[in-house]
């Protein structure tokens, strides 16, 4: 078996060069190093990197990789945070950034066929003239690809009302482990047969390579109100969130950040955030003008009932844009506090937000790690950010230990492991916290059904030993295990 996939693999490289030409096959030390990690903290070791342009090329690369017993790791923009695109055990890194064509926009049916390398925000920009957008809006949307969004089932601030990526994908063209091309799903909202599309979305590149997607486009709302509400502390902000939901409103977005986070953002963006306040709540309501005005008023009232210090309503599109920009640049702004950061992503039931937050700060204090917080308050999706310096010996391990504690407290409270960033390598070892052996075995069997040879992103998502009953299954020729 190709157990030593470190360093380059000349035969495989030569085959790939025959298929793609030298410009699209990279295997020098430096090139491999630049594809060794995503935006998270784990580092892998690519064998070779290929730039793909067509579905047929993907199929050929899959066959070549199988032939040489080398796994394939798909990569979009590499903004993932859970090491999904990190070739942990070596392999072909298959880069989709050149498959970035928006093939056709069907304005009447609100759909579009797009390549996996299309940048999320580019898609929304291209559909603006039709009065539509692609609803999933991760904070990384200016950079991340639709393929990455699909693989991670990514969410964003507006998923509170619109749902995550899976709700916006109608069909996928996928290259399978045999190098065949299949289409799953279709234009109908509920295609007949087993819903393979639902299985593929969120599978983090472990079941196949997405080469095209039929996405659902969402009409732009007729009117919007975006409000920035300052509070003395997180508790008041959280109480306001509960109050808003209890009043029967489902705002388009409800986002919160704490004081440290606000300060870091303000330092870079000069957006005029209320940095003296303990917490900031961003609330957005969409709909017809009468409705948004009424809802904005209710939110203002609830906020004042919970000690709000100030309520600012964005009037112009520019004001709205700068508020969202401040929210979406939060992660990057942390680096001003320390050279490295570890961004976490867990979920707690909204009702237990405040106690979870207290524990987050407590863990930070115990480990002496600066914790900054920004989160999708509407659905209890926490993103504690730990700023640290990885060059201090042992620091990274402490941070990882603190991160595990964070997940544990969230799961204890009835939450889940990951809100939107996926499992990848990062949270694989924590899967048993949430799933029984039977659960994990069921998932491992799905993986096996799609990719018996383990050619796609091996080792990701499911912890080793997930498959309980695999007695002496024959391993196909050339398979990588």
């Amino acid at each position: 078996m190709a157990a030593t996939l470190t360093g380059s693999n000349t035969k495989l490289r030569d085959d790939l060069i025959r298929l793609l030409g030298t410009e699209r096959v990279m295997d020098s030390t430096l090139e491999r190093h630049l594809y060794a990690k995503d935006a998270g903290v784990y580092i892998g070791n690519p064998t070779v990197v290929v730039m793909i342009e067509t579905t047929e090329e993907v199929a050929q690369v899959v066959r070549a990789a199988r032939h040489h017993g080398v796994p394939i790791v798909a990569r979009g923009a590499g903004t993932g945070l859970s090491a999904g695109a990190v070739p942990e055990v070596g392999g072909v890194v298959l880069v989709t950034t050149r498959m970035n064509r928006i093939e056709e926009i069907d304005a009447e049916n609100h759909t579009a066929w797009v390549g996996p390398g299309v940048i999320n925000l580019d898609l929304s920009r291209a559909t603006t003239p039709f009065g539509m957008h692609f609803a999933p809006d991760p904070s990384s949307q200016s950079a991340c690809t639709v393929g990455g969004n699909i693989a991670c089932n990514s969410g964003g601030p507006h998923c509170l009302s619109e749902g995550s990526t899976v709700n916006h994908i109608l069909a996928l063209e996928v290259v399978t482990d045999t190098g065949d091309v299949m289409i799953v799903g279709g234009g109908a909202p509920d295609p007949i047969g087993l819903d393979l599309r639902g299985i593929l979305v969120g599978s983090e590149g472990t079941l196949g390579i997405v080469t095209r997607a039929l996405v659902k486009l969402t009409p732009n709302p007729p009117d919007v109100r975006t409000m920035a509400v300052a509070f003395p502390d997180i508790e008041d902000a959280a109480a306001t969130v509960s109050g808003i939901i209890a009043a029967g409103l489902i705002p388009a977005a409800l986002e919160m950040m704490d004081q440290l986070m606000m300060q870091a953002i303000e330092n870079w963006l000069h957006a005029g955030l209320p940095v003296e306040a303990g917490a900031l709540l961003l609330a957005e309501v969409t709909g017809v003008t009468e409705a948004v005005e009424a809802e904005a008023e209710i939110i203002t009232r609830i906020a004042h009932g919970n000690n709000a210090l100030s309520v600012q309503v964005a009037v112009s599109p520019q004001e709205r844009e700068i508020l969202w920009k401040s929210r979406k640049s939060a992660f990057g702004a942390v680096a001003q506090a320390a050279p490295d950061y570890y961004l976490h992503d867990t979920v707690v039931p909204r009702t237990r937000l405040v106690e979870a937050m207290r524990q987050v700060y407590e863990i930070g204090q115990r480990y002496q790690i600066t914790m900054m917080n920004v989160f999708h308050a509407g659905d209890g999706n926490l993103h504690p950010l730990m700023a640290f310096d990885a060059s201090e010996p042992g620091r990274l391990d402490e941070v990882k230990a603190a991160a595990d504690e964070l997940v544990e407290i969230c799961v204890e409270k009835g939450g889940v492991l990951s809100g939107e960033h996926g499992i990848g390598i990062e949270k694989r070892h924590l899967m048993p916290l949430l799933f029984t052996e039977m659960d994990l075995d069921a998932q491992a069997r799905v993986k096996e059904a799609f990719d018996a040879g383990g050619v796609f992103n091996p080792g990701k998502v499911l912890p080793e030993g997930s498959r309980c009953f695999d007695f002496g299954r024959p391993v196909p020729e050339g398979a990588w295990v």
């Binding site: 630049l34 903004t79 200016s142 950079a143 870079w268 640049s329 939060a330 990057g332």
Partner: protein
């Protein structure tokens, strides 16, 4: 292995990149190839790899760093405020120091001694004028021809401004020292004239120190670091007595503002203050020191030079000036036009591709008048725009409008 010069990218500069990837879509070279090696994040990671000894300064590293336009579009979008432009200069200095062949050394020498010498600039100007006036341009090689197309009409001789000073009518607001630059003096004489007239009108005393030399930006961007540092030291001395150093080429003002990268110790002195002319002009319009003229002069397409927008975050000022001149402005997408200093000579294909894109975009605006506050961009735009286009500095457009204005208004 590793770095060898004092200019090298430092650990703290490099570690401020958290690899979030938010800069990727803003990078023109990444947009062209989709490769990590051609992205800001990739380049920073590559610089770190050399620092850590993962790799040396090899061919791949050199290509990665040379392909960069130095447009710094990656800087304003970086929430972690990575000083990319500084690290790039450092990486180029290292490549030059470790891999500098004869060609590179020659280039470095030319950039320091020729650009720094008014006499040599006069000879080059004379030769260029000769080519322009005699029609020799038609038989020049293609690369040179397209460059020549970008030039303004060059006079045989321009009177030197060095050593002169210009007084405002009333007590001066401040004394500013005008950088005449290497090629700006003879090739963009009209821009200097307009700049001086505008500054004097806005109440500044303008001096043109005679000890000054080329700002050193071209040398710095090409890795000729020691030369760039020597030019910086000379200018620091020449401009000692002014309140502000002012430049009317975005590339120069950006570089002058970064002199602390180059000038050792306290060479710059406490009061080293640099302004681009567009900053002073817009300020004067807003303070009422320059009049707002009647509207209706038509539409001008406003190009945002990278070294104005990305390096100095000067975004609204050129518009303020043009609107005060009576123009309506339409913005051109701020992607690098591909001029990028010597880039257009070193990598003509990429440069031409970006230049053509920019020309197409200007075409779509419908405007035939284009404003650019950087001579390099101006030449690139002119050489790619076919037809009846005029490309001028915003300050020139303002001064033209002012001289056209009826008595009472001006």
């Amino acid at each position: 292995m590793g770095y060898q010069t004092p200019y090298a990218p430092t650990r703290s500069e490099l570690s401020s990149c958290i690899q979030c990837g938010l800069c990727l879509p803003h990078c023109p070279t990444f947009r062209l190839t989709g490769k990590e090696t051609d992205s800001p994040r990739g380049r920073l990671t590559a610089m770190t790899a050399v620092l850590d000894g993962v790799t040396g300064i090899d061919e791949v590293f050199t290509e990665t760093i040379s392909f960069c336009l130095g447009c710094r579009a990656c800087e304003p979008v970086c929430p972690s405020m990575v000083p990319y432009g500084r690290t790039l200069e450092g990486a180029r200095a290292e490549i030059a120091a470790q891999k500098g062949g004869a060609a590179r050394r020659l280039r470095g020498w030319i950039m320091e001694t020729w650009l720094g010498s008014p006499a040599i600039m006069r000879v080059i100007t004379w030769a260029t004028a000769m080519v322009q006036h005699t029609g020799l341009a038609r038989i020049a090689p293609r690369r040179v021809r397209s460059g020549l197309r970008g030039l303004r009409h060059i006079g045989w001789r321009t009177a030197s401004l060095r050593g002169r000073s210009f007084e405002p009518e009333r007590a001066p607001v401040a004394t500013v020292g005008l950088l005449t630059g290497c090629i700006m003096g003879p090739w963009f004489a009209e821009v200097h004239q307009a700049s001086i007239a505008l500054l004097v009108r806005a109440g500044y005393r303008v001096v043109v120190p005679s000890g000054q030399t080329c700002c050193g930006a071209l040398a710095a961007h090409d890795g000729a670091a020691d030369g760039a540092a020597r030019l910086a030291v000379r200018n620091a001395a020449a401009f000692r007595a002014v309140d502000y150093v002012v430049a009317n080429a975005a590339g120069c003002s950006a570089h002058l503002k970064d002199y602390h990268h180059w000038a050792p110790g306290d060479t710059l002195g406490e009061g080293w203050q640099v302004r681009d002319i567009t900053e002073l002009a817009a300020e004067a319009v807003e303070d009422g020191r320059l009049p707002r003229l009647e509207e209706g002069r038509g539409v001008v397409a406003l190009q945002h030079p990278c070294h104005l927008r990305n390096a100095q975050r000067i975004i609204t000022q050129p518009r303020v000036i043009l609107e005060a001149a009576g123009y309506q402005t339409t913005d051109i997408d701020p992607v690098c036009c591909g001029a990028a200093g010597f880039y257009s000579i070193l990598r003509p294909d990429t440069s031409a591709r970006l230049g053509r894109d920019k020309a197409d975009e200007i075409g779509r605006t419908g405007a035939t008048l284009v404003a650019s506050a950087n001579p390099g961009c101006e030449m690139q735009l002119r050489s790619h725009l076919a037809g009846e286009y005029r490309v001028l500095h915003p300050v020139e457009l303002y001064m033209q409008a002012l001289s056209d204005a009826p008595e009472g208004q001006a």
